[in-house]
Symmetry: C2
Subunit: 881 residues, 2 copies
Amino acid sequence: MAVDGQEQRALQYEQTLMYGRYTQELGVYAREEAARLREDGRQRRSISERSPSLKLLEYEKGRCVKCRICAVHCQRFLMSRVGEDWIFLILLGLVMALVSFVMDFCIALLLQAQKWMYGGLDSNVVLQYLAWVTYPVVLISFSAGFTHIVAPQAAGSGIPEMKTILRGVVLKEYLTLKTFVAKVVGLTCALGSGLPLGKEGPFVHIASLCAALLCKFMSFFGGIYENESRNIEMLAAACAVGVGCCFAAPIGGVLFSIEVTSTFFAVRNYWRGFFAATFSAFIFRVLAVWNRDEETITALFKTRFRLDFPFDLQELPAFAVIGIASGFGGALFVYLNRLIVQFMRKQKTINKFLMKKRLLYPALVTLLISTLSFPPGFGQFMAGQLTQKETLVSFFDNRTWAKQGISEDFTFDTHLMAWKHPQANVFIILVIFIVMKFWMSALATTLPVPCGAFMPVFVIGAAFGRLVGESMAAWFPEGINTDGTIYPIVPGGYAVVGAAALSGAVTHTVSTAVIVFELTGQISHILPIMIAVILANAVAQSLQPSIYDSIIRIKKLPYLPELGWGHHEKYNIRVEDIMVRDVRYITLNSTYRDLQDILMIGNLKTVALVESADSMILLGSIERAQLQALLVQQVSRVRRQEVMRERAETERKRMSVASSPSSDDSSQKVNQEVRFQISTEESTFVPVRPISPKPLKPALKRTSVAEKNIEIPTSPHDSSMGLKNLLCARPQTDVMEEDDPDAEDDMTLGEIEEWEEQQLDEQVNFNSCKIDPAPFQLVERTSLHKTHTIFSLLGLDHAYVTSIGRLIGVVSLRELRKAIEGSMTVKGVKVRPPLASFRDSGTSGTSSESEATELHKLWDRHSSLSLPRDQQNHNTDNKTH
Amino acid sequence: MAVDGQEQRALQYEQTLMYGRYTQELGVYAREEAARLREDGRQRRSISERSPSLKLLEYEKGRCVKCRICAVHCQRFLMSRVGEDWIFLILLGLVMALVSFVMDFCIALLLQAQKWMYGGLDSNVVLQYLAWVTYPVVLISFSAGFTHIVAPQAAGSGIPEMKTILRGVVLKEYLTLKTFVAKVVGLTCALGSGLPLGKEGPFVHIASLCAALLCKFMSFFGGIYENESRNIEMLAAACAVGVGCCFAAPIGGVLFSIEVTSTFFAVRNYWRGFFAATFSAFIFRVLAVWNRDEETITALFKTRFRLDFPFDLQELPAFAVIGIASGFGGALFVYLNRLIVQFMRKQKTINKFLMKKRLLYPALVTLLISTLSFPPGFGQFMAGQLTQKETLVSFFDNRTWAKQGISEDFTFDTHLMAWKHPQANVFIILVIFIVMKFWMSALATTLPVPCGAFMPVFVIGAAFGRLVGESMAAWFPEGINTDGTIYPIVPGGYAVVGAAALSGAVTHTVSTAVIVFELTGQISHILPIMIAVILANAVAQSLQPSIYDSIIRIKKLPYLPELGWGHHEKYNIRVEDIMVRDVRYITLNSTYRDLQDILMIGNLKTVALVESADSMILLGSIERAQLQALLVQQVSRVRRQEVMRERAETERKRMSVASSPSSDDSSQKVNQEVRFQISTEESTFVPVRPISPKPLKPALKRTSVAEKNIEIPTSPHDSSMGLKNLLCARPQTDVMEEDDPDAEDDMTLGEIEEWEEQQLDEQVNFNSCKIDPAPFQLVERTSLHKTHTIFSLLGLDHAYVTSIGRLIGVVSLRELRKAIEGSMTVKGVKVRPPLASFRDSGTSGTSSESEATELHKLWDRHSSLSLPRDQQNHNTDNKTH
């Protein structure tokens, strides 16, 4: 990281405070990680080297050898079992259930403490207010501070990052122990403050962290845990566990995590999610039973709607209205959330001020929100004293508030009492609640603490549903059905529908419906819920991205946007319209200077290797780091010394065979022919001489290896010495090797530079370099739709565009993203992409006229290049026919 | 189809009777389909050519022109809307809901008719028996016969075929109108017979048929419906609709269809399934309400378990036992089903006999099953008089049978009465029911009628669950909980768990749990059900393939098996171990003879095109059909005539320029240089002469184009004529063209053969040929795991294995299947694949020693081949650096 300390911290702050941009370069990360891993590996090796001796010591100490052998066998058996998936998944589920339970317990304690303080001070309103407000401010400030100090990556939801990681992008700093600690502690404090924040998103992140740490821990036992693709699969299962043990909703958890994090889902990975999530949810609920909270395993927010006649068919329009309105509401929520972040970012004065006082922003926001929800104050109009959980329970209640509003039923239930107000009726209170919570939630989720947006939105949705339900109940007090039996309207059912619809609209998922079934333990409203959720999704998806995609864009995480609903123009845009034609490449006979130039120019992750600049046949791709290593190796001090030594020897040898008139071009053969090495007194001066006095030739006119070999003998030396030396041949290599290092150290800086310049003109030797021999290739006529599919299926970062083996372009995530977003802005209209005009005039233009590919070009190339070797190929060509 | 009528019918019979092998070749299909489509296109074009005139006629007839213009505008608007997905999905959902409702109605009628007959004849047991037995025999025979005559592909479940189709394999004959009719009629009759058959699988197929037909229908309006990848997505949605409207279970339908048909699932396609399935289930249930069957929309098999205390924690072991036992039961069912099919197939005498009397097998099986379930006979011990639906309703009943077995409660309910027997208690009856239904279902699902196995298995599972539940209720009559309140055990809950577990085990799916929730309308047993389903899956998946995969193997459909649970050895097998090294390829300078040889040898679908036999750089792949077209074109009569004509002209020209001494090698240039064409009296004899007298040279020593050009002038002709002809030049081409055709028709067969032999020795001209310039490539060190992923992700059929551009092998589905199945048989043991020994000695053996790829080879090749053009490349090489 080339960024200095303060700047870095400032960057991190921006990241935490307002979904900071994703600024660090991936390539840098990857290299650092690789270095760290190598270091780790070395340390581990040293540990394992130490352990045998330790074991031996133990053995010698031990008395019952049989016992030990048995133990070792058991250990081995366990080790072999440890590799199996289900053990890992059970461990993951267990740990997460415990984490979830303990965290819930702590949050409940924290909330109770606030209530207790508030209740104890009811004699003095000012003191009460101070206690009510200070408590969350302190908690949120602590949460923000702790998160910032320990691991700034822990702030926010975590689902966007998981989506990016599961796409195959390395964001390792998001999966460390520090982040885990920060997330767990920060989340507990944040939720304990009573602000409208959720735990679903952070739980997905926590579960993933857990899985990653467990993987690292387990890799001490077995080697399977170091497989990359397996870890990705485990992370996907962990996401399901996160949602599953947060809501005790295994099925909904699996589906939600798939919808939210994946683009393509491997069905064979399905059972992992189900297995782990079910186990986790089971343990989570069993813990509650053991803790005597519950009598048996039931749903978290159990409802008791009637089963025989859950709803009337004629109520369906009302449910549809809830769905459509929730769609608009969800889009508005995402928009509002983004607006707040962008506003804070754009106002440079505010931004600068907040950068300095990091905890001020969270404290101010918390102060505002808790002031407004102070129960004796404005909070009385929005049920300010209720926690999120109590609010939900009251919304899902069976009874009708509007009808029984003034009745005494309410007094039995303290939760329901909150909705009763002497001056305002229940509708006004609900409207105020919805409006206030709406912006409060949008604001609170921008805080730099670990928090999710799912639960607040869920509550708002339930409130909206309840509002509609109460209205319906007031409108049709006897129920709608006129066939005889009176089935009164159940506003609680509307609340469930609204909750599912709004949370579905904000997250762009359908599986909120399943989560709702599992949360309430009732599935009787399945059709209204499904209809509302689908309508809400349809509306929201056409207006705004999902909250997670919105955060991804704000944070500028490397991600590929989804193709929208039925964008048929995607089938008409082709890769040739969006690809970058100016591909950086190296050829088999590139020099180190070309290599240097390429490395200097851009921040490419890989460079294409082609056969030659005119054939352009793609042979593979080489990673940037590999090329750097090659370059460094070529001009390194060690090599310089070696080359100098060799050259000195060559020089000496040449002097010895100088009598032969054709020595100029046989200099390479000398190495093999001369068996006796001869040194003279001049040998110490030899290294300096062969360097030609004109090293600064332009890079574009590089010399081939053959030329260079010819160059060396041009240096002046006494050819008459040769025969004399040959006659008095003595092996003096040992003396020489001692002399040489001194000679090189004597090289001046200028000489070194000259030498390096010369080295750069040499042809690259790729032998020691790791080449990816089959980088992903596309054809220029591949449609954007297919390209998107392939990129997201295989998690590609870039792909080369080839035409019958020839490299003609490259497409990276960026181009693809631009193309998709570019054509997405104008909806319904077929957008001609910016580069489409090239299709008619570009290099590959001819191919679009006919389906037959440009084989004639290949033919031309082939006939011009391979004719000289036609004769020799005839026999081999026919060998296999 | 080269198979003659009878044999073909016999094949089809085998296909229908016992999951016949998939014999027809795909290539043949593809070509036939292409031809048919072309034909269709021509017809459609001719229709559209006709229509303008028709429109004009109408216009002239019409009086209110404005009206018409408005109508046209409306029509256009509708057309543009028709392309949108949601219209298609709504139509699909609507149609399928109607189909499902009408079919259910008909099935209910048919079942009622049987009951009515049986009830009306209760005076005479023999007559009663005859009526009871004849009715299903007639129905099943009709179903089998109808299916066989109209569309034999309609027999069976259809899910295996859909799985294959969704993988990208073309099985077009499974998606025709005929198949649709056969499936709907056949299924109605089969289910109306009362045999233990299901409708889920066939409904998946029917929905897909519906979608395919709708696509065809809609393609008359818009062009989008001809997009291949879109249709695949629509088919996936259709599968969800099929399950969804069969059980009124939209969520379970989507999940089940994903699990059963997909390997990788595009999440962006998710909403399509949910949308269509929800709409379909909604309409399906609304139809029931409108038909006054139900008061409002509720679940199909509504249960009324208590909500407050659904089950005790201590009951969980019993649920786990149900899960594990169901796992074994499910595996046994799949095994039994396969055993029956294989037994019938192996017994050649039975096979032959049944081939002749096609309807005998179904009739005999039906006779056996209905005889055994005859209520006054053995049927009294297995509730023979109940239909599947009634059986399920009684299993899901709230009341305990064992306790209340002798009480009068039973008499109120006729369904429950069936389980009461004066001699046998309820446990014995349940055991008999389970055992009998088990083999009956396994047998019935082998019948050549449209039928599924899901529902029978579901019923058996429910019976088993009920058995366990009743046992528990008898064991703990007061409930397990000892804390005070008595919560009696609910055996109906056990039945639900058992049903989900056994159907999950047979189909290898987890989503049966969701289907069960939606079917019963209660989700309170979520944790027991999830645990049982997961355990059942774990057991069944480690013993047997799923019923659908089993059928795929029996039918030998082209499919890729799944990787099992945690088979880590997959990471250690590499492509180089399984690939075929002897790749058939053609080079840029192959002759037509090579092409012929390749086409003769095997039934490859595509052939690799490499640069040359020693460079082996892969340039692309060409389809077999394309190559055939090239070959046919080369030796076609038309071309023969053309060539003859040209040659005659050349001959004449040569004679005219024969005076020049270097005419031997400038024969090609002549064409461009000579502008005046000359004919002599000898021109008619020319065509015969140039053919060299030694045409049967071995194919391996083919001549290049250059050589051939030199060959022609060796024919004897008077060179002295040249100058004279040139002097008296007259254009006589018109005369010549009239002469030539006659001349060629005069060619003897021998001459034609000779000419063809010569043609085959020419170099192939690929200009008119469509080349896939980027066939999928793998590297030799790609793991089997990754290869499997890529193959199933992209629906590949084969992939070339390349090493830095060089083609070194090919992997097709078959090799992959073998490798996976080969290493799957020995479980837990790391199998060294058959070709692994080659890794050490094979051609690519060196590369496995070091991670660096065999670049040195490339280097050798490069230096030996490209040195001659090094000088000319220097400038171009550096151009872009």
